[in-house]
Amino acid sequence: MQTPDPISKPITIAGHWNFEYRYFAGAVASRFFNEIKINRRIMGTRVPSTGRVLVPARSFCDASYERTGEWVEVGPEGTLDIFTIVAAKFPGLPDPPFVMGYVTLDGADTAVLNYVRGVDLTDIEAAGNKLMAKPRVRAIFSDVREGRITDFHFELIAPI
């Protein structure tokens, strides 16, 4: 084996980004979060031309390209449309395994993402097969709420 030439030794340096930002939610998303925080309810906004209720609430509909209007309370129950089960540890996320999925709340026309708790994940394949049945779920609000999407999660209404 050849002795490495120190002059030719490749150099690698570490890099790290840690910039701080301040994101403005805007008036509509702020009300959406404050309704969760203060009134424990999930709100959508209605699209005037189509009548669709967009959840989470937003200021405009990108499909019809118009401002939204009326505020509409939705849920707290809904249907788990699609889901995924996270079995590996990811920075900033709960210890695995856990379920997250998109739920269309009653009265809404779009789905909202959140954790789905109360699912027996002893056997992930078996749990996944059961969740394919689009179970009904209910939004559960945290006792301490900060005006964040994580102020609530979903739980199965009936065991699967």
Partner: protein, 361 residues
């Protein structure tokens, strides 16, 4: 629609798939790949008058990444456009400039070096900071959610799913341009399986475009963008992919049955296979089976040969070019190939799609 007086032709391409090669910096890899594309085209950099580069700061870990990467693609004292978008979009823009008579010869390059960062983690930061980031979705979890919807409609297709995975691995094994060592698979979420992951790699791809008649002409392009709100999207219908392909075929005055070869981009095996159903090339539920058994469907091995955003749409296009010109080597599809369709997508979660139709001139 006939052939434009300023049609854009692909003059040559090069693809580089490596992993953590400490002997080469990212600009080194770009320089070598662009040099390879020029050689493949029988052209010199002095003939080029424009450069279109697709790179992404978060992937490259360099703010304004293209400041250091564009010169390596030949941008010095040339008309250069930088895109934080998929490489196929860069090719589309270069072709449009040539067709408009704005450019004679253009270098198109795209790069993503997965070994220098953590693509899966940085992709989380591309999502909305209020609704999605706190819950940790990444570029691959959208595929898991889509698959859960597909399995609700099409349970019990285990055999075709397994055969598609085997076919993809076999094709990647025959592809001399595929990553041969190193790389890694991102952690996939259920119901995806690890063997359905892409092989994260350091990828640079380049193409030389120009109006000089060559063996392959760009006959049509299409683009489409879906809602930014994932909860609003029809994850199964994938309308932006369908619309982009329809527009590319329409502008080429062709239909999908006229296409001999498809290179369809996807973040996972499922997304590659499911694209066949979206484009009407496979019956509902038959995407995996068609992927496994079809001829001229991702013969490159797709993401199993190496994957890193934002290079992949241009890789799919370059693979089509190599097939149409008989240069695909170990994965060359037999018989005369006249037309090919390549697709690419942009984050977040394939919100935007592009498609391009190539025909032999």
């Amino acid at each position: 629609m006939g052939i434009s007086p300023n049609s854009a032709y692909i003059q040559g391409v090069a693809i580089s798939v490596t992993w953590a090669d400490a002997e080469r910096s990212l600009p080194d890899l770009i320089f070598e790949t662009v040099t390879g594309a020029l050689s493949n085209a029988g052209a010199k950099m002095a003939e080029m008058d424009s450069v279109v580069l697709a790179a992404h700061d978060l992937v490259d870990g360099r703010s304004l990444s293209s400041m250091v990467t564009a010169p390596a693609a030949g941008a010095y004292m040339r008309d250069e456009i930088r895109l934080a978008d998929d490489g196929l979009v860069a090719a589309s823009l270069a072709a449009a400039r040539i067709e408009a008579g704005e450019s004679e010869f253009s270098v198109v390059a795209a790069c993503g070096r997965a070994s220098e960062g953590d693509f899966q983690r940085t992709s989380q930061t591309a999502f909305d900071p209020f609704m999605i980031q706190p819950l940790g979705l990444d570029e691959f979890s959208l595929s898991a959610l889509r698959l859960s919807a597909w399995l609700q409609r099409h349970p019990g297709l285990e055999d075709s799913r397994r055969r598609a995975g085997q076919a993809r691995a076999r094709r990647a094994g025959s592809n001399g341009r595929a990553l041969k060592s190193g790389g890694h698979a991102p952690n996939l979420w259920h119901p995806l399986r690890q063997e359905e992951a892409p092989c994260m790699a350091d990828i640079v791809v380049a193409a030389i475009l120009g109006p000089r008649p060559a063996r392959v002409r760009i006959a049509g392009t299409g683009h489409s963008t879906d809602s930014s709100n994932v909860g609003d999207r029809d994850l199964l219908r994938m309308p932006s992919l369908a619309q982009a392909a329809e527009r590319a075929l329409s502008s080429a005055s062709m239909q999908s049955r006229d296409i001999d070869l498809f290179e369809l981009e996807g973040a996972t095996l499922f997304d590659e296979a499911y694209a066949l159903e979206v484009l009407g090339l496979a019956a509902p539920g038959q995407g995996f089976a068609t992927y496994a058994d079809g001829t001229g469907i991702n013969p490159s091995g797709g993401g199993a040969s190496g994957w890193c955003y934002p290079a992949m749409g241009l890789v799919r296009l370059a693979e089509c070019y190599l097939q149409l010109t008989g240069q695909a080597q170990g994965v060359q599809v037999p018989g005369r190939l006249r037309a090919a369709l390549a697709t690419g997508f942009s984050p977040v979660g394939a919100q935007s799609h592009g498609a391009m139709v190539l025909v032999t001139a």
